[in-house]
């Protein structure tokens, strides 16, 4: 079964996304911040990470930068609320397979995630 890691500091978003993808036969693990996310990537080796840009403790971009120092393979999709060019460019330079802007269209989220997992 494909394994998806959802990283967001909002409980409602984690729970909603967990249910949403579980119904589609995907194994979901969640992290409430960048630090836990890095640990989970190392221990559980998910196929794909949905990483929120704006988080209180260790932002998505910082977490991604740390991840890429040792791990170039784990696929990451950034989820962002703000359309900040710099953030987008930095994330792209660090290697992400996609970018989703909040508020998002559910069908798009589903399509992008499933497409990556089926590659």
């Amino acid at each position: 079964m494909a394994k998806l890691l959802i990283v967001d500091d909002e409980t409602d978003i984690r729970e909603f996304a967990r249910n949403f993808f579980k119904k589609r036969g995907i194994e979901v693990i969640t992290a409430s911040g960048g630090k836990v996310a890095l640990e989970l990537i190392a221990s559980d080796n998910p196929d794909l990470v949905l990483l929120d840009v704006r988080m209180e403790e260790l932002t998505g971009v910082d977490a991604l930068r740390q991840l890429r120092q040792t791990n170039q393979v784990t696929k990451v999709i950034m989820v962002s609320g703000i359309e900040d060019e710099d953030t987008i460019n930095e994330a792209k330079s660090l290697g992400v397979v996609g970018f989703i802007h909040k508020p998002l269209v559910l069908e798009e989220l589903e399509r992008i995630v499933l497409a990556e997992l089926n590659k």
């Binding site: 409602d12 978003i13 729970e15 909603f16 909040k102 508020p103 998002l104 269209v105 559910l106």
Partner: protein, 395 residues
């Protein structure tokens, strides 16, 4: 299991009253959605709202059991979304006309309706897509809210705890509630747009003011930096008065004082340069012309509504506490506080800077002068505040 009977008319009335009292539409909708969940005993209720900045619909509020909630502001629906299309495209309106709502249990019936079958695959496909959408949003009923025929909101209703069906009476109630909410949102949005516009104009005006202020300075090089310093002193005096609790300032006073300080000499634009920069003592006639800068300033600013306090500061900053000043020989508390403060700040700066006709005084000599004329030329409250600032070494 019988649900507790609800007096819908009464509920609607109290909700409408709430809408008048609460200006923040988000808060209002939160309250309404929460009370629906509690009173009708639903697993989940939510509201999709039109966001005119994003030109799409956003799930703004979601209330109910953990796991059934949809994170607020997380999900967007474009106008191509089946649920949105179903409610905005005219050709489907008749399908919900007698219900005021779309129920998932009705969709199967609708699919077999003669008109839907004869309409071909388009309608069928849309109904199909809608029936897939609704469970994703944890909704078994969707109630649209329109304002002038445009879709402003969709109220999402989840399962009832007891598994019961929605009565038509309930759906009518939700429909009325949803349109009231839509109206309230529309009003609040208009109000916010107006407020934003007003704020923008005000900021624009303050910037223009600063530009105008420097125009005066350009005309009279000897007073270079005068406007800025007077404004700085005036603000410091007012803050000192406030911290010493000698005066209770009305709201917006500090902003008005700031603008007024920057503009207090604006009327000098109408005074000939030969008088403004004259090295010798002014003749009686010249002095009379110089004095008109107060009323000229007020006339320049007169068309601006909402700036009355600033204008008073410009017009009366040469009035004396004992009634010997100009232009109107106002006395004591007849002189607005904004003007009384600027008067002290203005005099202090005039004394301590070099002028075309004399060298500036030292600060302690100038303070002694202010002290001497307290209660005569100067209102004692701002004068005392200036003296205290000097003693604290803050001038």
């Amino acid at each position: 299991m019988a649900a507790i009977k609800i007096d819908y008319k009464k509920e609607l009335e109290s909700a409408s009253k709430g809408m008048i009292l609460i200006h923040d539409p988000k808060l209002l909708i939160k309250l309404i959605v929460r009370s629906i969940v509690q009173k009708v005993q639903l697993e989940h209720a939510g509201m999709i709202l039109y966001d005119h900045q994003k030109n799409s619909y956003v799930l703004a509020i979601s209330r109910g059991q953990a796991g059934s909630r949809i994170p607020e502001g997380f999900v967007r629906f474009d106008k191509s979304n089946p649920l949105i299309r179903f409610f905005i495209e005219k050709e489907y309106k008749y399908l919900v006309a007698n219900r005021n709502a779309l129920l998932s249990e009705d969709i199967n019936k609708l699919l077999w309706q003669e008109s839907v079958i004869s309409n071909g695959n388009g309608t069928k496909k849309l109904l199909h897509d809608v029936s897939e959408q609704m469970p994703r949003l944890n909704a078994v009923a969707c109630v649209p809210a329109y304002h002038h025929h445009s879709l402003l909101a969709i109220l999402l209703l989840g399962q009832k705890h007891d598994g019961g069906r929605f009565e038509q009476e309930e759906l009518d109630f939700f429909s009325a509630l949803a349109s009231d909410v839509a109206m309230a949102i529309q009003n609040a949005q208009l109000f916010e747009d107006l407020k934003r516009e007003a704020d923008r104009n005000r900021n624009l005006f303050i910037q223009t003011t600063i530009a105008l202020g420097s125009a005066i300075e350009a005309k009279d090089a000897y007073t270079h930096g005068h406007t800025e310093r007077v404004t700085k002193y005036a603000m410091a005096i007012a803050r000192q008065m406030e911290s010493a609790a000698v005066y209770q300032f009305p709201p917006k006073f500090f902003e008005n004082l700031y603008i007024s300080g920057l503009l207090h000499d604006i009327g000098k634009i109408g005074v000939p340069e030969s008088i403004l920069t004259k090295k010798d003592k002014l003749t009686f006639e010249e002095y009379e012309i110089m004095k008109t800068h107060t009323t000229r300033g007020a006339e320049i600013l007169a068309p601006l509504t909402g700036f009355e306090e600033c204008i008073a500061g410009v017009k009366y900053h040469h009035e004396h506490y004992d009634g010997t000043g100009y232009p109107e020989k106002l006395k004591g508390d007849e002189i607005p506080m904004v003007a009384a403060i600027i008067a002290v700040a203005d005099a202090f700066d005039a004394m301590t800077t070099d002028r075309s006709y004399r060298k500036g005084l030292s600060k302690d000599v100038a303070i002694a002068e202010v002290e001497k004329f307290t209660g005569k030329q100067f209102n004692p409250k701002p004068a005392q505040a200036l003296i205290e600032l000097f003693k604290k070494g803050e001038l």
